[in-house]
Each structure stands twice: as structure tokens, then as C-alpha cells.
């Protein structure tokens, strides 16, 4: 097995390489930032138009009261899960290879949650009254409805987002101190000084830091599972054919980890190039991520098969009709696209030759995410087009450009946040890479001593 990282990198070089990412990325960085800004602008324009004129411009109707907003909302929520998988679950499992890449994965979690939050906002009809759904003290003595899965949703996401921000921040403190000590004077030095909370690297600080980090990690794991289970409840708890499925929560969580892992591969490739992180984001690490993604892809495929089979062999005629509609109706192209991108394309990842082939992986990871986006769309729309009440069947409803514009804009918003984060904060964890290098060199030394002893 190739090694995940070279054991002879000097610590000063690690600092230097990572801190360089705060200063001079490749030109492509600015191209990406401006493209993202432009895309986000499109989204903002669409929202302003929709806000002023009414939700009708999204081409939603009765029965299609939900559309791409909800589908894309699930997509972004889902994407957030792999950050937690890499940073918290693998941390507990002492999987060392996560160390150079977990920081950006965790940032991805935070920013995709923020993006998902936007979709809740653009979806609701009276955006200016969104706070009704929060249990805030008010003079009317009114609570929100605790029976509603949407309310659980709002709370779960809010908890997950705040915990993710804390986790991201806590894990970054030693690195912020390094940045503070090395950066030239200016607003950033002030920022790092403030955020590093007077970190000096004393034993006591390290001990407290470890305990805190571990605690937050343990807290975050059940949250990650519950968040997407609750998003799944939005559908599973309803009565509609195609949604009222018991296996939805695990199915959603698997799908979430899947799209998240695919996104990590995409971002891995981009960051590695843009910030010249070839030394740290190494191909063996990419290979491990790819294998993880492949395993999750197969779990997702299995759960898909379980869902189809249980609908097919059930006596629920309406659900079966919806399934047949998905396969053969208006949305057939998207449904089969989902099967192709979600279950067939990942087979490429099983081939050893492609597990470290960057162009192939970039294309594959984007296709996987396309497939997962289609999956969410295929959960939402076909049920509306072919529900219980035949009079309201509507197979010809298509999202308007306003909806597509906002979906497009959300990618811009996410990329913008992510790219700014990577430029302002160290996106590779310096102290953990050092740990990794240290452990490797220790290991090697031990091997050397053993060899010498044998002579």
C-alpha cells in the first residue's frame, strides 16, 4: 500500500504550504469565485422577481405545490452529511487518512446547510413571516405546531448547523494560532488573533482542546443521522403515495452520505489543484475516499431496490402507480438518469485503474451528484403529478426558469462561501497533518530500530 503522506515533510514546510493557500492561489481560483458570484446573482435576481410577483412565477400549481426548491433543499442537506462522516465518525474510528481533507469537508457541511436554509426561505409563500415557524416567545401565546415534520426539520437543521459551525471552529483553533503567528500585519492578523482565543499550545490547552473536540464530535454524529431522517419524515410521515415509505429515513441518510462523498471528491480535486495541495491531498487518500464512496453507492443502490420491491409487491395500488409513472411517465428520463448516474456510473469506481485517475474521478463525481439531485427531484415531483385523486393528475408541469435559476444560483452561493472560506481559513488541518507525519516517522523509526536489533 502506498503511504498516505510523506513522512519526511518538515513541519515548517507544512505551515508554509498551507499558509500559502491564504495568499496566492492559482488564477483559476478567481475565475471560480467570479463565476460563482455571477451564478449567485442570477439566483438573487430570480428570488427578487418571485418575491415581488408571487410564487406563481415558479410555475408551481395545484397539485404541484412543491417543486425544485424542496428537491434541491434535500440535495443540499444531504451533501452536508459527509463532512460529518469524515470529520467526526472517522475521527472516532482513528482513521488517520481523513486528516488532511476533513477540514474542507466540514466546511462543506456548514455551507451546504446554509444553502439548504436558503431554499426553505425561497420556498415559503410568505417569506417575511418565516419566524412563525420558530418557537419564539410572543404576546399571543402561540406555539408552532410540534406535530409537523417541517417544524422538526427546522429545529434539526438549526441544531445541526450551529453544531457544525462550532465543530468546524473548535477544530480550527490551533491552526488559527499558527496563522496568527505567521501572517503579515493587517485585518487578517487581527481576525486570527481574535479567533484563536489566545492559543499557545500548552499541555493544558491541548488537553482541554482534545476533550472539547471529542465531545463535539460525539454530539454531532447522532445529529447527522437524525437530520436527514427527519427530512425523510417530511415525506414518510405524509400520506401520499410514493412518500409513505418506512424505509425512507435510512434511504435518505445513505443518499446523503453518497452525494456528500461524491462532492468531497469533486472539491478534493479542485482544491488540490487550485491551492497546490498535491503534497497533502495525496492520491492514496483520494483512493480511500473513492472506495468509501463506492461502498456507500452500493448501499444506496440496495436501499433503492428495497424500496421499489416493497412498493411493487405491496397491495398499495396508488404507490405502485406512482412507481410505474416514474419509470414510464413524463419524468422517465430523469428517473432512468438517476438509476444510471446513481447505480451504474459508480461501478467505474470499482476499477482500480480509475481510483486515482483525476479527470475520470472529476467527471464521475459530478455525474454521481447529478444522479443524486435527480433522485431528490424524483422523490418530490412524481408524487404530485400522480397522487391519490385522479382528477388532479397533472403530468405536464415543468419548473419555470425562475426555479431553475434559483437552483443554479444556489450552486453559486455554495461555491462562493466555500471558496472564500478556503482563502481566509486554512483548509488543510496543519496540526493534524503534522501529527500524521509524526506518527509515520515514529512508526518508521520503530521499524528501523527493530531491524537494527535483529542484526
Amino acid at each position: 500500500m502506498e503511504k498516505d503522506i510523506r513522512e519526511d515533510i518538515a513541519w515548517a514546510k507544512i505551515n508554509g504550504d498551507v499558509l500559502k493557500s491564504l495568499e496566492n492561489p492559482r488564477k483559476l481560483y478567481w475565475v471560480i469565485v467570479f463565476a460563482a458570484l455571477a451564478a449567485f446573482g442570477v439566483g438573487v435576481g430570480c428570488e427578487v422577481y418571485q418575491y415581488n410577483v408571487g410564487m406563481g412565477v415558479a410555475n408551481l400549481d395545484n397539485p404541484h405545490v412543491w417543486g425544485l426548491y424542496i428537491a434541491t433543499f434535500i440535495f443540499w442537506i444531504g451533501m452536508s452529511h459527509s463532512g460529518t462522516l469524515l470529520s467526526a465518525i472517522l475521527h472516532l474510528m482513528h482513521a488517520d487518512w481523513r486528516k488532511p481533507i476533513y477540514r474542507f469537508a466540514e466546511a462543506m457541511t456548514t455551507f451546504s446547510l446554509m444553502t439548504a436554509g436558503l431554499f426553505v426561505m425561497v420556498h415559503i409563500g410568505r417569506l417575511w413571516q418565516f419566524y412563525y415557524s420558530l418557537p419564539y416567545p410572543n404576546e399571543r401565546g402561540i406555539w408552532p405546531n410540534f406535530q409537523s415534520p417541517l417544524l422538526w426539520d427546522a429545529m434539526a437543521i438549526f441544531t445541526y448547523l450551529s453544531s457544525s459551525v462550532i465543530f468546524l471552529y473548535v477544530g480550527m483553533i490551533p491552526d488559527l494560532a499558527i496563522a496568527r503567528d505567521n501572517i503579515h500585519a493587517g485585518w487578517r492578523k487581527k481576525l486570527y488573533t481574535l479567533l484563536s482565543l489566545g492559543w499557545e499550545g500548552t499541555d493544558r490547552q491541548w488537553r482541554n482542546f482534545r476533550v472539547t473536540y471529542l465531545t463535539v464530535a460525539c454530539f454531532l454524529i447522532p445529529l447527522a443521522v437524525s437530520v436527514h431522517s427527519i427530512v425523510a419524515s417530511d415525506f414518510a410521515m405524509s400520506q401520499q403515495p410514493g412518500w409513505h415509505v418506512t424505509s425512507f429515513p435510512p434511504y435518505f441518510v445513505a443518499g446523503a452520505l453518497y452525494s456528500g462523498c461524491a462532492a468531497i471528491i469533486t472539491l478534493f480535486i479542485i482544491l488540490r489543484y487550485v491551492f497546490k495541495f498535491e503534497e497533502y491531498m495525496t492520491l492514496p487518500i483520494l483512493k480511500k475516499t473513492v472506495r468509501l464512496t463506492f461502498a456507500i453507492a452500493m448501499v444506496w443502490t440496495y436501499l433503492n431496490a428495497v424500496e421499489f420491491a416493497s412498493v411493487w409487491y405491496s397491495h398499495d395500488g396508488a404507490s405502485k402507480d406512482v412507481l410505474i409513472q416514474k419509470m414510464t411517465g413524463t419524468y422517465a428520463f430523469a428517473w432512468w438518469g438517476m438509476i444510471f448516474c446513481g447505480s451504474i456510473v459508480p461501478l467505474v469506481l470499482a476499477i482500480k485503474r480509475f481510483q486515482t485517475n483525476i479527470p475520470v474521478l472529476l467527471v464521475v463525481s459530478l455525474l454521481l451528484n447529478l444522479g443524486m439531485w435527480l433522485e431528490r427531484w424524483m422523490i418530490v415531483s412524481p408524487t404530485f403529478s400522480h397522487g391519490y385523486y385522479p382528477w388532479t393528475w397533472d403530468h405536464d408541469q415543468w419548473p419555470s426558469l425562475v426555479q431553475w435559476g434559483m437552483v443554479f444560483g444556489s450552486f453559486g452561493w455554495f461555491t462562493l462561501l466555500f471558496m472564500i472560506f478556503c482563502k481566509v481559513f486554512p483548509s488543510v488541518s496543519m496540526y493534524e497533518v503534522k501529527e500524521m507525519v509524526y506518527h509515520r516517522s515514529l512508526h518508521l523509526k520503530k521499524g528501523d530500530t527493530a531491524e537494527q536489533g535483529a542484526h
Partner: protein, 284 residues
Amino acid sequence: MSVNNLLENWSQFRHAHPVDDKPHDPYKWAMSIDLDTCTGCNACSVACYAENNLPVVGKEKFAHGQVMHWMRIERYWDEDGRDFPDQGAQFLPMMCQQCEAAPCETVCPVAATNHTADGLNSQIYNRCIGSRYCSANCPFKVRYFNWYDYPTTDNVWPAEMTQQLNPDVSVRGKGVMEKCTFCVQRLHAAKVAAKGEGRIVREGEVQTACQQVCPTNAISFGNLVDPEARVHQQWKAQQVELDKDEQEKDGEHGRSELRGYRILEELRPYPSVMYLERVRESAI
């Protein structure tokens, strides 16, 4: 916002089961619609537009599925091999079924739709934030969303016609959900009048707009708890009960004389509207 309010008063506004939960006393508003007498003339729908200030959205938005008819007449063609114009058609007036265990009520994040003590499924426009989850979970799809700000949209109500809006019914702005209320403003007025005389509303004292205009008297509406009420007698004669989730006659394969049924009963929303099947040839 006391916890007390949450724990104790909340259950008043929810019904999980139509009978076991809480008795309907002294009112349970219900309806029955005789499909055999319905001619599909749409008068009920028009009356509903006039009574409840429904916006007329125009051809284009109608085609987009953004029409706001609380009361809609559904047309189903007979499939007996004959072609139009010989082909028979059947009509079914459809409006909010005022379910006892309403799927829409539990899912609203802000509790904008609730169950009232007299068995209505109420909608609070001021509380609605427009998540549209209620509509998503409604099996009948009888909830209508204000996709645009209709009161300020051209041609919805020509300027001179704003004078004819019903002052008892609020005009809804954009972004809220609305649906049939069983003409709650009329029910309320009747209840207040009766209360002044120290009694409850008698049969015939209150009519919904659709019932009032129906030329064939296909719609009857009243207090299901009141043995004098026509709707009570009809439900009883048809052996339809509020808490049933299937009718006995369904097991008898068309040999029964009974015609009463409720739509999608098997989902157990316990609708408050009973339909009477057509008996004419083309209905079979």
C-alpha cells in the same frame, strides 16, 4: 406562550378520531351531495366565487393549474364505448371534505389549520406562512394557494366590482393557503343569532352558498348531531357514520340499495361530506 397552553389547550384543536376524542356538541357541520340529482351546472361553484371573494384568475392561469375554485365540478366521461356526443358524463362537486382527522392539520408547521369544536377544518390566513405542506398532504387536493397577489392583479376584480366583495369574508393576499370553509361566516352569524335567543341553530336556519343556489337540491348541509337535520337523516338512511372507514355495502358488490359513500375513506381522514352514488344507467 406558556407551556401550559401547549400541553393542555393544544388538544382542543386536533382530532385524531372523530368520535372517541371529543363529542361534537352541540354542532357537527356536515354535508351530503346527491350525485344523481347533480346536473353539473356549476351554479355552486359560481355562488362560491361570489360568497367567498374568490379571485377569477383568467384563462392563462387556469390553464397553469392556478385556479382558485374552492368548489369545483369534476367531469368524468362514461367509458361504455360510445363516443361524444352520445357519450354520457358524470359530475362530482368537490370541495374541502372537512376531515375529522385531517391530514393537512398535523403537518402545518405553524398550526395555521386546525380543528374547530363544531367539526370544521379551519384555516387561519394570518398565521399561514405558505409552506404548502397541507396541500401536499391533502389526498383530495382541495386546498388552493395564492400564487399571486390577486387583489392587486388586473382583471381579477375589475375596479367597480370591488364594491361587490363580501364584507364578511377577508380577501386573501399572496402566499397563503385557502380552501372551502363550509361558509363559516354564515355559520357564525347563525350561531350568534341563535345564542341570543338561548338555543342552538335549527335545521334550515343556515345554508352554505353552494347549497342555496343548487337548482336540484343536490346539496344538503346541516348539523349532523341534530336528529331533525336532513343531513343527519340522509347519513342515517345510508348507514354512513362519521367514524367508519369503509361501508358495509362495499362488500356486497353492487347488490345493496345503499348509495352513500365518502371519498377515500380507506385513508381514514373521516371526511364530513357524504356522496350519494348515481343510480342512472350510465353510472354503472
